[in-house]
Subunit: 348 residues, 4 copies
Amino acid sequence: MRDITLGILGAGYWGPNLIRSFAETPGCEVRYVCDLRPELLAKISKRFHQVKVSTRFDDLLNDPEVDAIVIATPAATHAELAMRALSAGKHVLVEKPLAHEVEAGEKLVRFAETQKRILMVGHTFEYNPAVRKLHDIIRDPSFGDIVYLYSRRVNLGVLRQDVNALWNLAPHDVSIILYLFEEYPQYVSAQGLAHIRKGVEDVAFMYLEFPSGRIASVHVSWLDPSKDRTMTVIGSRRMVIYDDVDPEARLKIYDRGFEIESVMSGLDHADPSSYTYRVRPGDIIAPYIDWKEPLMIECRHFVEVIRNGGVPLTDGHNGLRVVRILAAATASMRQNGRRIEIPSLVKT
Amino acid sequence: MRDITLGILGAGYWGPNLIRSFAETPGCEVRYVCDLRPELLAKISKRFHQVKVSTRFDDLLNDPEVDAIVIATPAATHAELAMRALSAGKHVLVEKPLAHEVEAGEKLVRFAETQKRILMVGHTFEYNPAVRKLHDIIRDPSFGDIVYLYSRRVNLGVLRQDVNALWNLAPHDVSIILYLFEEYPQYVSAQGLAHIRKGVEDVAFMYLEFPSGRIASVHVSWLDPSKDRTMTVIGSRRMVIYDDVDPEARLKIYDRGFEIESVMSGLDHADPSSYTYRVRPGDIIAPYIDWKEPLMIECRHFVEVIRNGGVPLTDGHNGLRVVRILAAATASMRQNGRRIEIPSLVKT
Amino acid sequence: MRDITLGILGAGYWGPNLIRSFAETPGCEVRYVCDLRPELLAKISKRFHQVKVSTRFDDLLNDPEVDAIVIATPAATHAELAMRALSAGKHVLVEKPLAHEVEAGEKLVRFAETQKRILMVGHTFEYNPAVRKLHDIIRDPSFGDIVYLYSRRVNLGVLRQDVNALWNLAPHDVSIILYLFEEYPQYVSAQGLAHIRKGVEDVAFMYLEFPSGRIASVHVSWLDPSKDRTMTVIGSRRMVIYDDVDPEARLKIYDRGFEIESVMSGLDHADPSSYTYRVRPGDIIAPYIDWKEPLMIECRHFVEVIRNGGVPLTDGHNGLRVVRILAAATASMRQNGRRIEIPSLVKT
Amino acid sequence: MRDITLGILGAGYWGPNLIRSFAETPGCEVRYVCDLRPELLAKISKRFHQVKVSTRFDDLLNDPEVDAIVIATPAATHAELAMRALSAGKHVLVEKPLAHEVEAGEKLVRFAETQKRILMVGHTFEYNPAVRKLHDIIRDPSFGDIVYLYSRRVNLGVLRQDVNALWNLAPHDVSIILYLFEEYPQYVSAQGLAHIRKGVEDVAFMYLEFPSGRIASVHVSWLDPSKDRTMTVIGSRRMVIYDDVDPEARLKIYDRGFEIESVMSGLDHADPSSYTYRVRPGDIIAPYIDWKEPLMIECRHFVEVIRNGGVPLTDGHNGLRVVRILAAATASMRQNGRRIEIPSLVKT
């Protein structure tokens, strides 16, 4: 069977990772890498001898053997470039976020369906074995109810010019939260701070409220002394910390919580306000995770879906849900943290 | 010279620490411990042979040799008990918060001034050598401008029945922030979650905005797998992490930030939006802190101010500022995080 | 029933901990504290009002109501002072080490038996709930065989003048190792380094070999930048790290090891040298430990044994075994690490 | 100028790293990769399109354009393969250890000198920016005298069949220690434990004594629950911890030590035994390290020395010193830790 043939757009920060990963994915060939900057293409050529480089997107679109286009360009260009690729009959894997505006994202999703092409978004963390294990842990009855989640994704990092820290970093958190909660939030409030560059927030706090009563709090920043990639999920019977930068213990399950100590005498036993509580201590378990590089899993999934059909785990609708939430958060941020109702999901 | 003579109210969670600390403070005598629960008093007697115990507050108030009353009772009773002590002509050290309502706090502050008695609030962290060093670090020109601060004060802790996590834990954060920023916030928004007990928030997020443009974000919780007591201050030239539970490195100064990498060619050099930035890496320094127990410093300070006169570092006004902010935060929490303007400070 | 009455010898570094702990132990009374330094006794009086202080040991020995003497003086004086106490018919709890020389220790153990008095040694770690849990873990069949153990007990600490770091710190390690291994070592080699004070080793490395083939390696030092109190036990099926300064996870069980991957083709299946092995990864578990202060457990045990009879967990024989091993290690250290056979145990 | 042309021997564990690193080194070409296992060569071909693969060493030796051979085969084969490469007039970079026996190593060093070819050993850590910074720190007068060093290099790792843990892991420690101390040790003692495979030590402890009185203690193991790569250097005025697996703080300098507190009255002031000491606390500094991948620096150095002449930092003599020490340690291990004098260095 013929290899799935790919063209990759964007040889900047993330592009080389995609090239390397697809190059090591069985059953596919990276035929082209396209970028406007010849000096980056020269580097690619030196490192990946087998790949053709070009500064013209049309070279990729016009090659009838190219099955799919992988887009790793600045966020603002995602929607337009993906439309061109779909128009040329190519499948598309676009880096997160799917689009920078809800309308563009909706159009893209509809067009992919019309064209019967696959549209997949690079929400890598949904392919992360630790995140998948986390899902299983908090979905297990032993965890009790999911009460709330908070996440911190900060470091002293690349200062993007095209997007703020919310659009750059929070797509990860939002995609993970939707995957874990299996629920769509109703309200969002967000506040941010633009220190380095006027109008481009380096720091953002986002607060999501879900119909079930759960909440999720997200803190993202480029302006932080040290790298922190932690997410804590509080359940009514257990709690778990996911630390993405601790390879020895990415997940730690705390078998702890509160238990009813006693019911105050003379009070109604059915009335929870009469209870007193005590801490229930317990073990901490760092479960073994059968680790594989998430990007490799994602690349393999894209190739398999192209070959065998089916809907990608992180399809266009998935990507669009993230865009809707970030767009609402942005609106909240522009109004000093006003709580905003997120438009309910109607299948696009 | 005669020892300053004290009566301590409340032998519960915090009381024994106060008894022990004052017992080791030179120039003072703990004469009474008062509590409504005889079984607690029995324990106190066994541990502190020299102390008289009583279930009647009046025993303390009526002893003319008692100079001062130390109040470590549930928060809701602070204001009233402090009023009684002041009425009896005693100096007062009241545990945080000063009061549970702004009006009660204001009345207390005014009454202490009328009575010419010392009213001090137990904002222990303002006596903490690490917090004082942190103040010096971020006030030093090498730190640049203070951009923002975030704080996390969470653990699986004592579930209070009388107050929520905001009033229980955040007085520490607010008192530290006011001390560090030397500025009074203009707006507050807060959201919370009452999981265990209806109407009593276990978890709260608070967001403070200051006239200078600085912000402070505070996360407090009783419902967390592990103890976290960290505060991060971001400056324009340096950053610092304060970790209260790391005795080896309570403070870590990161000599890091962003620096202008270049000005894009052809653009206006005076226009910051044309700059590109790069990370400026640098050393991490954990400065040596000459550690003394904060509560011991606080107790010594109270005794000294009684003896020598002067205004305590954490006087009634200080305590009232914290109460105002928490009251506004509570109002915000009751309105789903609506941003609330904090009444400007008029000297009470 | 009358309280067990105690006299405590030594008000220096460790003495106050013993006073406080016995003061909180039910069924006993600390009647005397004795020390040659009046300024230390003055401090004791201020802190423990109920205790009589004296500079004369005879005051304690001559009080017929004193049941037992607790010795927390410099190590070199232990044996002699304990002999005097036993001679006066008192039970004795002596801080580790039991004695500084094997002969003195043997004499002491024999004399206590003749006198029918209890002789207990303060090997606190054998009362430590984490050490007791560690014992259960490595004795469980799931742990496989105990292969080896290594321990590090270092910090920048009190520089003793009377003993070197080996005699000051390693009694803890040796007592723990004997308790865990339930086996007496056959050979010891040790090397050390006297940097600060000539002839007094600040640093020592000790290597113990057991008849079963197990080994234990111990590193102790006063001359180290940071406090490390870790012990690692390697089993054939599991491994465990005991970190005494990590209150959240004093023990971490690693369910990991090697497993046979395959037998090389054409080779004898019964011959282990033909096997290849692979890592068997697994969970990490930090079991909940029902923590109580070890010294409190030790004090309670001493009082109970006096009252009810029986042999203390850390009796004189136990203390003597530790002295024998340290004496042999010292001999090795004096001979540049020569491997020395430890005299086999004959019940003294 | 023509690129330096390389052939790499060994496509197993470490080989691919060398291929990748040389491929990214300017001014050189990896022309051949040679291995006896065709399935490994197939993988290399897929990943590095530009490289020729072969199962015959002679293909590399017979190509007159090949300037140098890089040897990454099992340790036991190093010396023989390096001899063949030198005989063919090629420069040689051989992975550590240089040889498995002193005689073979000596012969190799002499032969390289006769042939006027470069013989370099892959002691990568001497090119590690953290190790180089560590050297500067401890050589600075502010560090005082270097007192002693201890190192731990343990994890649950690849179980080698050809060498024991000492020969597999300790070459790193020995090469670092020689580089840091700038001194050759006089005595070595070592003990080990062969748990998994008879006669192949999984665990080893090595103790080196230097003419200056310094000591170095090294613990290596394949049989450990978690990865530890730390080295602590104690100086008379400062101390430093090098943690190779903590990218945020590879080095931590502790500005701490002991200082003379007082001289006991009535004693000779010139007599150090009359001093008492106290801890001098101080800051901890994690200096910024301008990190570059050590293997990249090493590869670049090899190419430069071939091109421009000169002696490599880690030349054959350097490699031979490490072999001598490990051979003596092995002899000690075979004699239950007997202290062995290391033959003094005579220039080979």
